[in-house]
């Protein structure tokens, strides 16, 4: 086990998979000569050359389409969006081409590719640079969506995403790149998509979450523990495929759940999780499942307002106590 940052874990995953499979290439803005806007691809240009690590113009729709086209003929593109905020420009190629290709070609042409980059708010980047983009990638069948929260998950899941034969939107936490953690050295350390991770065990209430919010959930669980409340913290890790069994298991255990996510409430991921629990675990519930999300407003620049707009641990604690009626 090595201590790695989330950034370096991603870098290792990329390097190992590129080493392993010559069809894997990385393309995006500033990924090569600049080592990536967030330095995730540091050193890869030198190591793999400028065909396999390719800088692009600022043409999101165009290079997303390039990735899909290259995947149509068997390459395994990893297309980096400098941030997913810019991927709205490319969404047509994701939804209309990548997600539909296998189906509309009658199973002839699959799209083994990864769209990756940071998603979610960083610090004071304002309204246009702070989107948690899961919903836009989840609604249409055909794409898989992965949101790692730790260095180990980042490495194991990115390797799985690159090896996966379907389009995967791999959403990294813009604020997680410097987070350190234990990462297995094993070159074949792969975390299968669709397996949630119970990041903390406690029987009183379930905090279900994904992505960077797993850390907030753990903070909240810590705070609750001081009041003698033990919380399960279930990190879904992958949103499609989704580990429904793990969700039902924790709800069956605690009978009370809160969904925590970084993004907006209206059709945020939590809405789907709540409706799954409603349909499949209604009788297990001792209280309605509550949701903690970003305030339902564009992210403000002002620091205090931004902090207020984020879903913080205090709001999670409050929601947990509410479902516990304490």
């Amino acid at each position: 086990m090595a201590q790695l940052t989330y950034r370096d874990a991603l870098n290792q995953a990329l390097a190992e998979e590129m080493e392993r499979d010559g069809d894997v290439f990385l393309m995006g803005e500033e990924v090569a000569e600049y080592d990536g806007a967030y330095k995730v691809s540091r050193g890869l240009l030198e190591r793999f050359g400028d065909k396999r690590v390719k800088d692009t113009p600022i043409s999101e729709l165009g290079f997303a389409g390039l990735g899909v086209g290259a995947a149509m003929v068997g390459l395994r593109p990893v297309v980096e969006f400098m941030t997913f905020n810019f991927s709205f420009l490319a969404l047509d190629q994701v939804i209309n081409s990548a997600a539909k290709m296998l189906s509309m070609s009658g199973g002839q042409i699959g799209i083994p590719m990864v769209f990756r980059g940071p998603s979610g708010a960083a610090l004071q980047l304002g309204a246009q640079h702070s989107h948690a983009c899961e919903t836009w990638y989840l609604h249409a069948p055909g794409v898989k969506v992965v949101t790692p929260s730790t260095p180990a998950d980042a490495k194991g899941l990115l390797k799985a995403a690159i090896r996966d034969n379907d389009p995967v939107a791999f959403m990294e936490g813009e604020l997680l790149y410097n987070v350190r953690g234990e990462v297995p050295d094993d070159d074949d350390f792969v975390i299968p998509l669709g397996v949630a991770d119970l990041k903390r065990e406690g029987g009183d209430v379930s905090i279900i979450t994904h992505g960077s919010m797993a850390h907030v959930a753990l903070q909240a669980a810590g705070a609750l523990a001081k009041d003698g409340i033990e919380a399960d913290v279930l990190d879904l890790r992958s949103l499609r495929p989704l580990d429904v069994d793990a969700i039902l298991a924790t709800v069956a255990k605690t009978n009370r759940a809160v969904y925590l996510e970084e993004g907006w409430p209206y059709l945020g991921v939590g809405a789907q999780i709540v409706s799954i629990i409603m349909e499949e675990a209604f009788d297990d519930l001792d209280a309605p499942v509550l949701r903690v999300t970003q305030a339902d407003v564009p992210m403000p620049y002002n620091k205090h307002l931004e902090t207020w707009a984020r879903p913080g641990a205090a709001r999670v604690v409050e929601a947990c106590k509410k479902v516990l009626y304490v």
């Binding site: 043409s59 086209g69 290259a70 149509m72 509309m104 580990d243």
Partner: protein
């Protein structure tokens, strides 16, 4: 840059009839175009009686573009097109049976009946599909060309677009990247003068070749009703592109004899009956080739009749095949959304037992 430009843009004219084409070759071109014509006529009939549904965009009048731009290619070259792609699929080697069955939505169709008229695919023939989003194929073609370049191959990718697609921003992004990376893509714009009801000249102040050249893509204009000229021109371009000289753009001037789709009147709204009649009379690529061959005495009416009989029987057989073919099963739907059902987790959320 004025130089670059004039250097790059050049109009290629028909050239002497039969110039360089053997009789066999000409008969082959004629047979192909007749096949496309009869195929689309049958599709039109089948649509009228409800055997084909949805949107159906016929290629009638534009056959020379399909034959002239695709027949010069090798089997390992790639072709991708728009939703007006039935004949390009045939030209690249899909069987009339598979394409007709797809239009009928049958399991034996090229996409198993799930794709439909706008989504004909033939991976084995390297026909990379019909695309319903105007211009999207320019991005995909770029990727196919990138893959060729990445692997050091000498194939080319021919990307068919309509004239209206030239105004899509993504098309410009594609041309720019193809140019800076010298990718082996040939953008073939089937310039039938209209995008639905809109004349290209209403939506652009300049010639489309200028737009390609402005990104560094060499661009030419060709008479797309003249299959010999088109074939010869593309044949030469393909060799240039194979040689690693970067992308090409070709404005293939042609005319759509039918409505935009089955619901669009042939004439009377955005184009006059006179205009359509005149073009149908004077710009029919099949008539043009036929008459050239007649005058040059390398085709007799009997031979022509025989060819027509042959292609009609192929098309009749395709319809019979499509009629007889089975409907696709419901579970194919779920089989082809993801290429692998991950061993863990749920992929489908419709509660329909999957």
């Amino acid at each position: 840059m004025a130089e670059t430009e004039t250097a790059a843009v050049s109009v290629v004219n028909g050239g002497p009839a039969l110039g360089g084409f053997s009789k066999e070759k000409l008969v082959d071109l004629l047979r192909h175009m007749l096949l496309y014509r009869r195929f689309e006529e049958k599709a039109e009939e089948a649509y009228a009686i409800g055997k084909i549904g949805g949107f159906c965009h016929l290629h009638i009048g534009q056959e020379a573009a399909a034959a002239g731009c695709i027949l010069p290619l090798r089997p390992d070259d790639y072709v991708i097109g728009s939703y007006r792609e039935h004949t390009q699929a045939l030209a690249k080697g899909l069987s009339p049976n598979a394409v007709m069955a797809e239009l009928f939505g049958k399991a034996s169709g090229s996409s198993g009946g799930v794709g439909g008229s706008m989504h004909i695919f033939g991976a084995d023939s390297r026909f990379m599909g019909g695309n319903g989003i105007v211009g999207a194929q320019a991005g995909l073609a770029l990727g196919i060309a990138w893959a060729i370049h990445y692997r050091g191959g000498d194939q080319v990718c021919v990307c068919f677009l309509g004239d209206a697609a030239v105004n899509q921003g993504g098309f410009h992004e594609s041309m720019n990247m193809a140019s800076i990376w010298k990718l082996p893509v040939i953008y073939v714009v089937e310039n039938n003068a209209y995008g639905m009801g809109t004349k290209f000249s209403r939506m652009s102040d300049t010639e489309m070749v200028q737009k390609a050249v402005s990104h560094g893509v060499e661009a030419t204009v060709i008479d797309g009703e003249d299959v010999m000229a088109t074939y010869a021109h593309i044949d030469a371009l393909v060799e240039r592109v194979r040689g690693g000289n970067g992308p090409q753009f070709v404005d293939v001037e042609c005319y759509r004899f039918k409505g935009h789709s089955m619901s669009d009147p042939v004439s009377g709204t955005y184009r006059s009956k006179e205009e359509v009649d005149e073009r149908t009379e004077n710009a029919d690529p099949i008539k043009l080739l036929r008459d050239r061959m007649f005058t040059a005495d390398i085709l007799t009416r009997e031979e022509l009749a025989a060819i027509d009989k042959e292609v009609r029987s192929i098309v009749d057989a395709a319809v019979a095949f499509a009629e007889a073919a089975p409907e696709p099963e419901v579970d194919t739907l779920y089989k082809n959304v993801y290429s692998e059902i991950n061993p863990h987790g749920r992929l489908f959320f419709d509660g329909r037992g999957r």
